[in-house]
Amino acid sequence: MSVTVAMATRTLTLRNALAYRHAWWIFVTGFLEPVFYLFSIGVGVGRLIESFDVNGHPIPYAEFVAPGMLAASAMNGALLDSTFNMFFKLKYQKLYDQMLATPLTTTQVALGELTWSLLRSGVYAAAFLLVMWADGLVHSWLAVLALPAALLIGFTVGAVGMAFTSYMRSWQDFELVTLITMPMFLFSATFFPLSAYPGWLQGIVACTPLYRGVVLCRELTTGQVTLDSLVSVIYLVVLGAAGLAVVGRRLERLLLT
């Protein structure tokens, strides 16, 4: 009996869906955070801001913040399962030991878990897009493409998150996750443009995954697509693939000893 990648992924997804059936509300809280930011900062603070330029076009401030929060919600969707939850499964629940006693391989387990992160990202992003649309913050049909863009963000964040998690020794190490994601959330041109930074800092921020995601989502929802989007797509694909390769190798080193 051999198990294909597709079968393995389907089963792992089923397993995660069954596990979450009893805790669906955790799903909701993770989604609400960026929504609250959108209304508090984007809409609330936005009332105090007269006009705002993106690529030389004036747009309302809320329309600037919204795609940033869309990218952030995609990140949130992938983050929880790929970090805290994966660590729990790996170290405490010994879930992967259980899976690897079956024909499943480490690569299949990694892909299956990543798919779940991706799905969660997709659900968050789709719901967020609906909120944006209902609030009149979407002005281009290109915004439909923001959904695959959000999935791409989920893929990268999920893969890199899992790679990080495979090196974690205890729950204390997860402070690092907060230490990395919190500033990314606040400073990746989510609430103000990159031009607010001095030149050298702009270069650094432009290299963070969330910034690439924000740029991609913003260009799609405002309908002003530039070459920057292509750079973002390539960057996110490469980083995610690297993360996935690390995860596969690490699971092998940790579990098949």
Binding site: V3, A19, Q93, L95, A101, P103
Partner: protein, 313 residues
């Protein structure tokens, strides 16, 4: 089913010599047999089991499982065997029935078929009524039974059981042994590790005794007892701290009635064909032990003879 030649396992340790858990063992397990690995903690049993389960690369020697090489056909081997690990690695986020269903799906078994098998297995381990229960709410014995049911979901040709009854109360152990007997009757090959002598005597057709990564004896429980022990054992206990000092007197008292006398911290063991006669000789010599007991020889005695220490440490 299993063929190992000079099988070794060593673990790299930072800044130290690699730790050798298994130092070259030869094992042959035949189809339909119940085979045991016996030994104290750290003897290399679990390391051996993990290699057989194709989840731990072999460090040296050769290993064939079901005629396949675990280094290249690991996935295929795992698909045809069942594993019941030392710690129940059940999925605590799923219900009892879901545990079996999802686990079966990991093997690529079709939906309807896995549902049918899950129901049959729940029946077999007497957990049908608990199908919808959370795993956390099960007792230790029930969790073990569920783990055994899970290891059977792929209709395995061989089941590996790593210390199946450790930590269970006597009643739960007997229920479990009964289920394992039935599996054996169905023709499933069982490979069991244990450090309980009674368990090995109950379940195993053939076993090897491992110590410090090596096999020190091999045979059926009865043949091992016949070879390494006497028919009976008389246990005599003197006051605290007096056991060792009384050993010489006991030895001369029993004389040729006993094969040998073993000194343990809390008692002396007299190995003799006739235990009662040996005890009588001790009393006749004017020695006054605080307690005596005559029993049949067990694998525990074999182990003591082979390794010079008791098993449960």
């Amino acid at each position: 089913m299993i063929s190992a030649r000079g099988l070794r396992k060593s673990f790299q340790q930072k800044g130290q010599e690699p730790f050798e858990a298994v130092r070259g063992i030869d094992v042959e397990v035949r189809r339909g047999e119940a085979f045991g690995f016996l030994g104290p903690n750290g003897a290399g049993k679990s390391s051996t089991m993990r290699m057989i389960a194709a989840v731990s690369p072999v460090s040296g020697g050769s290993l064939r499982i079901l005629g396949l090489d675990p280094a290249t056909d690991g996935s295929q081997i795992r698909g045809r065997i069942g594993v019941c690990p030392q710690e129940d690695s059940l999925d605590t986020e799923l219900t009892v029935a879901e545990n079996l269903y999802v686990y079966g799906r990991y093997f690529g078994i079709g939906r309807a078929e896995v549902r049918r098998r899950a129901a049959a297995q729940l029946e077999f381990v007497q957990l049908t009524e608990r199908g919808g229960a959370k795993v956390e709410d099960l007792s230790g014995g029930m969790k073990r039974r569920l783990t055994i049911a899970r290891s059977m979901i792929n209709d395995p040709e061989m089941v590996l059981l790593d210390e199946p009854t450790t930590g269970l109360d006597p009643q739960a152990r007997h229920v479990l042994w009964d289920r394992l007997f039935r599996l054996k009757q169905q023709g499933v090959t069982l490979v069991i590790t244990t450090h309980y002598m009674d368990e090995a005597e109950q379940l195993c057709d053939r076993l090897v005794v491992m110590d410090k990564g090596l096999i020190v004896a091999e045979g059926s429980p009865a043949s091992l007892i016949a070879e390494y022990s006497t028919r009976e054992v008389a246990e005599v206990r003197f006051g605290i701290g007096e056991n060792e000092s009384s050993a010489g007197a006991v030895e001369s008292a029993v004389g040729r009635r006993a094969e040998r006398v073993e000194v343990l911290p809390d008692r002396l063991l007299i190995y003799a064909a006739d235990g009662e006669a040996a005890v009588a000789a001790v009393h006749d010599a004017g020695l006054q032990p605080v307690a005596t007991l005559v029993r049949r020889s067990s694998l525990e005695d074999v182990f003591l003879r082979l390794t010079g220490r008791t098993l449960v440490d």
